[in-house]
């Protein structure tokens, strides 16, 4: 049992750990000294093996001192973080000046999608030690899109999240795809779909809506949101035959999920139009 949890620590070092294991390791880390020591020593050995500088004298006292200081600091909550981000987004326009975005900005652009914009963040700090921004360094694949992953909101979804693509979470879109229920009539629709597909489901929530299409074998969902509701950068992610592609199109943020190629998904996404003008 101990070996299994330590094996998870080793896998966690390599970023090869499942979500439930990650939660378990973090939870146990505060009480399990063996686990903490392993995490620390494994990293020390890794740094030495890779020829990196290490301070061997740094030990648990170093960590304990920081831990004690942080104990008196506020404990964060997800809602407070969201509020902080909102404030930052409103008050500061980020200046793109880091080298990290340049490779992405100059990369090839896929098929019918004309541009990929990596979103810099708008944050400012009074403390000059802290960088005033953290600019997107999202890796890109051959498609020209930054690679996301199906995220950790997929506890009920049998999607293999252990793929090598990582970054932001596309999980909410996949969740919508799988839990689609109809309500109000949508006023947007796809102007183009591969032959054989017809609409079989819909969900409208505020200004956001999700459309589900099926050809009897495969399902394709399209999420259409105001740009202000955009949760991820323009991106593409794949896992277990499903592709999730998100782009800005027609003044909306459109996300297509289904067993599709990037070209087909982007063609569907760019065809989305208000019902009155859909062809």
């Amino acid at each position: 049992m101990q070996d299994k949890s330590l094996e998870a620590v080793s896998a966690m070092m390599d970023g090869e750990i499942e979500e439930f294991e990650l939660r378990s390791v973090i939870k146990r880390s505060s009480e399990d000294k063996i686990l903490r020591d392993k995490w620390q020593r494994y990293h020390l050995a890794q740094d030495v093996m890779r020829g990196q500088a290490v301070d061997v004298a740094a030990n648990t006292d170093f960590v304990s001192a920081i831990s004690a200081s942080i104990e008196s600091e506020p404990t964060y909550s997800a809602s407070a973080i969201a509020h902080s981000e909102q404030e930052s987004a409103v008050t500061v326009e980020p200046k793109i000046q880091s080298q990290w975005w340049k490779p992405a900005a100059s990369m090839a652009v896929a098929a019918s999608v004309t541009a990929v914009v990596l979103l810099g963040s708008g944050v400012s700090f009074q403390d000059t030690s802290v960088p005033a921004f953290d600019v997107a360094g999202v890796p890109t694949g051959n498609s020209g899109f930054p690679q996301g992953k199906f995220g950790d909101n997929l506890a009920t979804v049998s999607v293999n999240s252990g793929s090598a693509n990582h970054g932001f979470s596309m999980g909410p879109y996949v969740q919508r795809h799988l839990e689609l229920t109809s309500s109000k009539a949508p006023d947007w629709q796809a102007g183009w779909l591969p032959s054989g597909y017809r609409q079989v489901g819909r969900n409208v929530s505020g200004q956001s809506q999700v459309l589900l299409y099926s050809n009897g074998t495969n399902n394709v969902s399209i999420s259409i949101e105001p740009l202000s509701a955009q949760m991820v950068p323009q991106s593409v992610s794949t896992a277990n035959q499903l592709l999730a592609l998100a782009i800005r199109s027609n003044e909306r943020f459109v996300t297509v999920v289904g067993p599709l190629s990037v070209d087909v998904a982007s063609k569907i996404a760019t065809s989305v139009k208000p019902k009155a003008t859909a062809q």
Partner: protein, 194 residues
Amino acid sequence: MSGENNAEIDKQLVKRVQEGDKRAFDLLVMKYQHKIIALVSRYVYDKDEAHDISQEAFIKAYRALPRFRGDSAFYTWLYRIAINTAKNHIVSRGRRPPDVDIDVADAQYFEGENKLHDLGNPENNLAREQIDAVIKTVLDQLPVDLRVALTLREFEDMSYEEISVVMDCPVGTVRSRIFRAREAIDKEVAPLLK
């Protein structure tokens, strides 16, 4: 590819901290303490001073975490905080910071030249050399499957999936081999740190 996985784990740990789990920050400190101290030691040569500045940098990072959105890698962000904290410290002491800054992109790895391993502390350098020698000895003595799995991971930066293809075995076996190799090393390294 594997580096992305590593960054993703950092992102997950940061997310946990942002959601109120301070324990996750401890894991980030443990992971990066050696690198941060080594980085700061390039600005400040006194060992205790370097430790103090490094601790201050981690605490600043914790305070700033609500505004860290994960668009860049956590370590890049953390390294920049450490460098700025070190420079501010030097200025506050009436000293002049170095003219040539350390590129954050290069700061992750201080490899290649011995002087970059050297923190200016003979005792530390000796301890590091001992650990290095022990690791090499253990690696030489490991069963070949374990040695190959670990070296592909550590030196070639391959993902488990890539290693499984190279070694023609399941990903689970790769994971187990790497763990057993690390355990063998740890068994010999741990006594040196007491």
